[in-house]
Subunit: 136 residues, 2 copies
DNA sequence: TTCGTGGATGTGAATGATTCTTATTGACAC
DNA sequence: GTGTCAATAAGAATCATTCACATCCACGAA
């Protein structure tokens, strides 16, 4: 078991890294983090394993923000706030996503809805402040 | 005015093209359409003008589907259904997006929400059918 | 032990969407 | 006509992501 662990060390590390942050990171960010503990890790491995976990449903993609894909290790349905200025993504865990919406979406679309994403875009608190201080 | 029209012909054509469809097209699709009426139009022009209108708020980006950005000429807030199989994007105009959500998002996030996107992903009717017929 | 197998990885090249650069054009004011 | 300024075409450049391929490692069979 210890030995097996070793073989999957990097795959596991990708998942741990994602679960250990609430920054909804990009592949590049994960790569930079893991580089410290695993100096020989490659970007390809990070992409490969993110795709693997996404496929498994173990993690979730938030779509792209400013051209790069962002991931979330928290698969519980929750709402996101995306800052259009700095690209930060915040969780709004307090906001409820009505349960029955998916069924409504399925029936309206004639297909089968598997997941639902609710997100808001705008300026985060920090960027609001910066804008009001510098006048844009 | 006629003359001025001519100068902006392609910019306007990009907007018209987007407004004349409900397929939520990509830049490439718009380019292919316009190529018929404007054989010398360039992809760069399409990208440039999509970015221009997006900046103005005249059109809206849906984010990327299967790696390519998709646009919507319909800026009225409405719900989308995105097929993960064929990439089709359907409007669910019948579904309501509660008005007060944006304010809640602003207060929870400490920032200022400017827009809200609610979308469902899954299999559209056609793809459901295909899957059940072919057994995947 | 020694092989063989199969999954995980590193490397670097390839891909593909998007953006940038440069030269050109058209509309308008003088 | 000349100058200016925005819009454009063409193609090069960029950048995130994927792919191809050789290698490595754990495990199991001989």
């Amino acid at each position: 078991m210890e030995l097996r662990q070793k073989h999957f060390r990097k795959r596991d590390a990708v998942l741990e890294c994602l679960r250990g942050t609430d920054t909804h990171p990009s592949a590049e960010w994960v790569y930079a983090q893991l580089k410290r503990s695993y100096p020989d890790i490659s970007l390809g491995t990070v992409y490969r394993n993110l795709a693997f976990f996404k496929e498994q449903g173990t993690i979730v993609s938030l779509g792209t923000v400013k051209g790069v894909e962002r991931f979330d290790g928290n698969t519980a349905p929750h709402v996101h706030f995306i800052c259009t200025e700095c690209g930060r993504v915040l969780d709004l865990m307090q906001m409820k996503v009505p349960e029955e919406l998916s069924e409504a979406a399925s029936s309206y679309s004639g297909g089968h809805a598997e997941s639902c994403q609710l997100s808001f875009t705008g300026l985060c608190g920090d960027c609001c402040k910066t804008v009001s201080e510098t006048g844009e």
